[in-house]
Structures are given as C-alpha cells and as structure tokens.
Amino acid sequence: MFSLENLVDLPMIWFVVIATAIFLYILLDGFDLGVGILFPFAPTDQCRDRMMNSIAPFWDGNETWLILGGGGLLAAFPLAFVIIMPALYIPIIVMFLGLIFRGVAFEFRFKATGKARRIWDASFHFGSFVAAFMQGVVIGAVVQGIEVEGRSYAGGAFDWLNAYSIMTGFGVVFGYVLLGATWLVVKTDGETQAWARKSATYAIGFVAAFLAIVSISMPIMNADIRTLWFSMPNFLFLVPLPTASLIMLIIIWRDLHAEREIRPFLLSFGVFLTGYIGIGISMWPYVVPFQITYRQAAAAPEAQSLMLVGTIILLPVILGYTGYCYYTFRGKASHEHESAY
C-alpha cells in the first residue's frame, strides 16, 4: 500500500506540522480571545462595538486551527491524543464550554437589544477568559508530565489542578491580552486605539513576569530540562531564545510609545514563538511528557503518508484564502457607516 515511509521521516514531519497548527491556533485565536478578555474594560460601548467588529469575520476561521491541531493530533499521533484527552477531561470540556459562550456571542450580541445585550457582553468576556485560562491550565498540566500505564492515562480526575497550572492559566490569559491589545492597535483608531495601546503596555509587564517564572521553574522542576538548558554547549545555543523574548518585549514597549501600529502585533507573535519553542525544546522528544515520544505515538505510516500528501496540497490553498479573507477585511474596524437594518 501507498507509503512514504522510506522516503521521509514521517513522524518528524508530522511533529512539525502539528506543532505549527497548534501554534497558529494559539496566535490567531489568541488575539480573538484577548479581545474578548479585554472587552468589559474598554472605555465605551462604541469601543466594544469596534472591538467585536474587528474580529467578527475572522474568529471562525481562527478557531478552525484548533480542530486542525486536535484532529491532526488524533490522526497523526493517536496514542498521544487518547492519553491527553482523558487526562485533561475537565479543563478541555470547560474550555469548550467557554468557546461556546464566546462563539454564540458574535451572532446574538448584535441581535440583542437593551439589557439582553449585557448578557452576551458577559458571555463573550467570560467565555473568552475561561477558554484562554483553561488552555493555559492544559499547557501547565502537560509540561508537568502525565501519568501513563500501558496505552492509557492512569492518573486521577484532578491531576491537572495545582498552583503551577493555575499560574500558567493566568500566564496565557495575559499573553492573549497582549496579542488582543496589539491587534486592536492595528485594527482601530482614536479612543479605542489609545486605550488598547495603554492596555498593551500593562500586559507587557505581566507577560515578562510569567515568561520569567516559567523559564526559571521548568529547569527547577525537572532535572532533564535542567541538564538540557544548562549544559555546555547547549546553553550557548539556547540562551538567545529568552534574550530574544526580552528584546522583543522592550521593542514592543517602545513602539507602543512611539505610536507604531503594526510592529507591536508582529513582535507579540515573536514573543509567543520564542516561548513556544522554549517549551517545545524542553519537552522534546515527548508528545506526552515524559512518557511517550513522538515516534511511539505516531500513527501507521500509511495513515501519515496519505495525510501528508493532502496537507502538502491543501495547506498552501488554505493559507492562500485565509490571507485573501484578511485582505478583504483590511483597514480599521469601525462602527461608522450605519447599515440599513
């Protein structure tokens, strides 16, 4: 049967593809969720309208990367999927409930009038917050390792819950706030933009603090990670990562004060990238830390081969029309231009 097994390193390629899909989800839905988290703090209702308008055409496409990340994990590394999902049953279900409240708010809010609109404001905000927080909890729980016996999860229902995962939960919330605020700097102007700029500067401090805590705590918690980062010559190769994060955060801060619009947003992506790579390197080669490697979890080569062909053909097309969609809705979001209904 058709297989690319002997031509390319399939598990390795799929590790990169899935990691990329999850990362794109974090970036793209990250700014949507960040906008939702910031929502009630905006100075006026008019600002809130613009905030929602700025992401209304995109959120659905952005959330699709989550299905690709999850569905892709199921397809390419089924063993990892079947261990992680039951292990994180509660935070994952709660995350989806948050995403439901966030998602329906887009449609319901602008159909609601008067006090009912407040319900969907709250639904949008708390939905976004809960989803972001639970994603952080999931990351925090995964990096601490998952108990496995044979081919399934062997821990309890609340193994994921501890101070560390709650900390990473808040870390992701502030990270998304930075993405959301810098997105709003790009997509809005006037009062909303000024407020978003201020919010972004506050977020920088928190993001820096959480990045520092995670960077220091991971080597302390795990001896292998300690050896990986602090042995020579690894240290020399890895030290640019945190350095780059720090430099980018400083540039974002300066750019915000210099009223630059686009660069803070792109550099926020950069900060997430360095953090993501840092965690990825620490977990390598595990997909279920610290039990199952990406090779052990890999699906049959026939399955990975078929999907690889599909991905090579379809992913550029997807990126193409996603780009077209962003291009169509370029420019500042606004509430102006009263529509007729």
Partner: protein, 464 residues
C-alpha cells in the same frame, strides 16, 4: 452521588446528547447554504430585488444556525478522545485521516468564506460574493462527505487488517472511504438535509402567506420549497429504501430490530405497531401485514428475513428504540411526499399559494425534517449497538479511563448550557422571522460588519 451510574452509559448519553444537538444545525445549514446559492443566482440573473431581500433575511438565520453548528461541532472530534479513547487508540489509523481531511478540505473553506458571505457584501464584487456563497455550500457538502464516510465505516468497516498489537491498520483507503454503506448514507443524509431546509422554508413562507405579509417574498420561499417537496421528497423514499436494502445485506441485526422481527422466517410480516419486549424476545400488541416485509426486503413474498433470535442476546440492539425511531422517520417521509403530491395538484388547480388548509399543513410540518433526521440517526446509531464499530469493537470496550462522576457533571453542564444557548438562538431566529424580509438596498457596512452593534442603532431598530 453518581457512583452507581455506569461510565459507559454516561459517555453514551453525553455523546448522544451533544451529537443530536449538533446534527440539528448541519441538517439545516447544508440545505440552506445550497438554497441561498440558488436564490443569489436568481437575483444576479434577474436583478429582481425580491430575491435579494429573501437572501438577506435567510442569510441572517443562516449565520445564527451556522454559528451554533460551529460551536457545538468543534467539540465533537475532541469527544472521541475524552470519551472514546480506547476506540480511537484501536481505530485511529483509519478514522484519524478521514477526520483530518474533513478539517483540511471543508472546515477552513466554510469558515473563511462565511466571513465574506456575511460581512463582505460591499467589500467584494457581487460575483465574488456569489462565489463565496457557493464555496460555503460546497464546503458543507464536503464536510458531510467525510464525516458520513467515518460513520459509515463504523457501520460497515472494511479495507483494514488487525495488527499483532491489536490495532487496526489501513490496507485500502478507497475501500475505507467508499465502504458499503457510505454512498447510501451520504445520499440519504444530504437529501434529508435539503428536505429539512425546504420544509422549514415552506413553513415560514406559509406563515407569511397565511397572514398575507411579505407576499412576494413568501411566494419565492414557498414556491421553491414546494419544488423540493414535489421532486425530492419522493426520491428520498427511494433513497431510503435503497439504504434499507443495504442495511439488510450488511447489518441484518439492525434491520431485524427496525422491522421488529424476532423469528427468522420466510414470508416475514410487516409489523405496523408493536411494543417490542427485549426480555421476553417478543412483540406485544403487534399489528402485522403478512409477507410484506419479505416483499420489501427480498422482492419476493416468500423471501427469508432473519429475526433477532438469530443472534445472541448480547449482540442485539435495543429493539424498541430502533423500531419506533424508524416508524417516526418513515411516517414523516410519507407526510413529506404527500405534501409534494398536494402541491402538485394545487399547482395544476392554480391554487398553490392561496389554499388556506395547505398553508396550515405546511406550517405544521416546519420542524418535520429535524425530527426525521434525529429519528433516522437514532435508528442507525442505536441499531449498531452493542458495537461502536460493527463486529470489531463493543461500545463498552471503547470508553476512556474517565470516572463516571466527571462525565455526569460534564453531561449536566452540556444539558443546561445547550438548552440556554438553544433557547436564545430560537428566540433570535423567531425574531428574525417575525421581522421578515425587508426591501432595502444593499447596505452591508463596508468596515467588515454587516450590522455594527452599537447603541445608536438600537434607537434606529426601535423606530422601524
């Protein structure tokens, strides 16, 4: 508190609840997307403003339903892992790629072009907008293709071998994707979705006609829906029959449950009414027509039909649910075909749009499609039990290592939240229907929103 509840039962209840809720939305949006494409095409072709108004009214309803479908659907693949991890562990090599292809070929397409369809009115050319509608419609069909392929594979698995590790390995993708029940299920379900939409649109059109409101628009809705009732409803009976014969061949246990037949016999009767008793292995209060089941299934009065007793008791599905769900589905299908027949007669009598009783009839059938779709899925899913994948793995062997308490809590949360969200969606859709189509020149905001949700337009809305 929940210690006594069986985790498998709870996992099944949760999956059944969340997927039943989910399927209501695709069942409607698959048909609605295609219909909207037709309406927009008529508008571009004729320049008739009525089509534009109808499009704009229904695209708003489409947006709400599609949004509900997305938020309830994103969860579904993850539930494979949270609740059926041992099934995914064994079958991941087969179902994984099909699900991944659904995401790659359909979900991104729908999500991206939906943005243009809803908000891009003034940002792209009319042709591009029309293209976006078509792309979304095609996306819904591609999505149906893959997910029905996965489901059908679970009904009629083939194209794999069992490895030494007990896991399934693909041997032929063509055999997997185009497994024996797939073509029938795909055609039957897509047609069901089209009919669901048609009868919903017909019901609303009839409502306007009854109240003599928006008559020009209502005629478009009602007329187009009746075309579907006349031509497609009878076809669906044919497709359903073919699907049934396919089930007779590949899943005879399910078919015996559908027919409510316990004994294998030649000249099997058609059981019209019965209360199947699983324990006693018999039907109570049965009303039967002799030999008709054999005639339908084998096309011979004396053909042999296998009864449920042919299989051990622990390999039979819960008969009463399958039996009755099938009756409901077929009953509604018959009502739909009858609607088509009435519509045809009224059309030739030139009374299609002003026959009062027929408008009431169509209003009553507004939710018919949804009920039939749910009933049909209960037949096919409950009928497959006790298997998660027919003959390969039992549902009770497929569960995740998650305790019953967790599932009981999440199930309760889903029920409460879905009822709340569903209630809100229904309320807003009814409001949109109450408002009806409005004759207003194209005025989607050109800043990426169709309607800027701002306080100042609340005033405008009240003034309307």
């Amino acid at each position: 508190m929940f210690e006594n509840l069986d985790a498998t039962f709870l996992a099944r209840a949760q999956f059944a609840f969340t997927i039943s809720f989910h399927i209501l939305f695709p069942a409607f949006t698959i048909g609605l997307a295609s219909w909207l494409a037709v309406v927009e095409w008529r508008w571009l072709k004729t320049g008739n403003q009525v089509y534009a108004d109808v499009y704009r009214m229904w695209v708003k309803i489409f947006a709400v339903t599609f949004g509900m479908g997305v938020v309830s659907g994103v969860l579904m693949p993850f539930q494979f892992g949270t609740n059926w991890s041992r099934f995914v562990d064994a079958g991941g090599n087969i179902i994984g790629p099909l699900l991944a292809f659904e995401v790659l070929t359909a979900f991104f397409l729908e999500a991206s072009f939906l943005g243009i369809m809803l908000f891009g009115w003034n940002r792209v050319s009319p042709k591009m907008h029309f293209a976006s509608t078509i792309i979304v419609a095609v996306g819904t069909l591609i999505s149906a293709f893959w997910i029905l392929s996965v489901n059908s594979w679970m009904q009629t698995p083939q194209g794999f071998q069992v490895g030494q590790d007990g896991l399934l390995y693909p041997t032929s993708w063509l055999a997997i994707v185009f497994n024996p029940s797939f073509p029938y299920r795909f055609v039957h379900m897509v047609t069901a979705a089209y009919l669901t939409t048609a009868f919903t649109v017909a019901g609303i059109g009839a409502y306007y006609l009854w109240h003599r409101r928006h008559v020009k628009h209502a005629r478009v809705m009602f007329g187009m829906a009746m075309i579907m009732a006349i031509f497609v409803a009878p076809l669906q009976i044919l497709f359903g029959d073919m699907h049934g014969l396919n089930t007779f061949k590949y899943q005879p246990t399910k078919l015996a449950a559908i027919e409510g037949l316990w004994e294998t016999q030649r000249g099997a009767p058609l059981v019209l009414f019965a209360l199947p008793d699983q324990e006693a292995e018999t039907n109570r209060f049965a009303v039967e027509i002799p030999k008709v089941s054999s005639l339908i299934l084998t096309h011979s009065l004396d053909g042999e039909v296998k009864g449920l007793k042919e299989w051990p008791a622990d390999e039979r599905p819960p008969v009463a649910i399958v039996f009755w769900a099938f009756k409901i589905m077929v009953g509604i299908g018959t009502l739909m075909a009858a609607t088509g027949l009435f519509a045809l007669i009224l059309h030739f009598k030139k009374r299609l749009f002003d026959t009062r009783w027929f408008q009431l009839w169509c209003m009553a059938l507004t939710p018919a499609g949804f009920i039939a779709v749910l009933a049909g899925w209960f037949v096919t899913e409950v009928g497959r039990q006790p298997w998660i994948a027919q003959g390969l793995m039992r549902t009770s062997d497929a569960t995740s290592p998650v305790i019953g308490t967790s599932i009981a809590i999440s199930l309760t949360a889903f029920v409460v939240i879905y009822i709340f969200v569903f209630g809100a969606a229904s309320y807003y859709i009814l409001k949109l229907i109450g408002k009806g189509p409005e004759s207003i020149p194209a005025a989607y905001g050109d800043h990426g929103v169709e309607k800027p949700p701002i306080v100042s337009d609340l005033v405008g809305e009240k003034g309307e």
